[in-house]
Symmetry: C2
């Protein structure tokens, strides 16, 4: 781990990270203000180090096989405030401030489509509880 | 798709789902009340169908190579309210009501550990803004 990094890592936990057979770990970017899940992307060790050093979310692109700092071209950077790790150490959450849309489509979040919802839920999201006046 | 399912699927989107080479897709379980991310688990087509039919989150266990309804033994079920899909169709969010702890450790969420945080953030989460009285 390098000096002068923006994010301080908990060294007791770093050895618990489980990198997959390609040396990658998936990360969920969550908006620290709204709690919305913005996107999912992959980290390798180098991109994790760059994220810790710069404070800006930096990933490994599986399709392009290269490092990419989110917002490096669009300006829509992700300022990472903290990184959470799950119980088995194979997934991370990057709690972040987003400078703009997370999605390449221009949507604020990549999860802008609803695949399924409860049949008793109307378009407004009201679950249709009995006695509900709305 | 079977009749009488609890969750209604958007048939225009179902063909956009990208199952990986093992026939799986990762899903993020998010607490619909708090917005907290509770856990990440995998779906295959059968477990997605069971989730749609029952409304209870049901996954494919990669380690045990079997279907498991979350809370089937513990009682800590996840009542799925809606399912969101990301822009490239390879990750889902299950927006859910959790009946109890999501994590096998007894923690409410599997993401209970902080791997890294900004060095200007103290233990209370205060970012140390100038003039802050706390």
């Amino acid at each position: 781990m390098s000096e002068n990094q923006i994010l301080n890592i908990n060294l007791d936990l770093i050895d618990n990270l489980k990198w997959d057979d390609k040396g990658l770990i998936p990360s969920i970017v969550q908006d620290i203000q709204s709690g919305d899940i913005l996107m999912v992307a992959w980290l390798n060790k180098e991109s994790l180090q760059m994220t810790l050093d710069s404070g800006n979310a930096t990933f490994w692109s599986r399709s392009r096989q290269e490092l990419w700092m989110k917002g490096g071209t669009s300006g829509n950077t992700m300022k990472v405030q903290s990184i959470l790790m799950d119980c088995d150490g194979d997934t991370l959450i990057l709690l972040s401030d987003a400078a703009g849309p997370a999605c390449h489509t221009g949507e604020r979040t990549c999860f802008y489509r609803t695949l399924a919802k409860r049949s008793n839920e109307d378009e407004t999201g009201c679950p249709g509880c009995s006695g509900c006046s709305e």
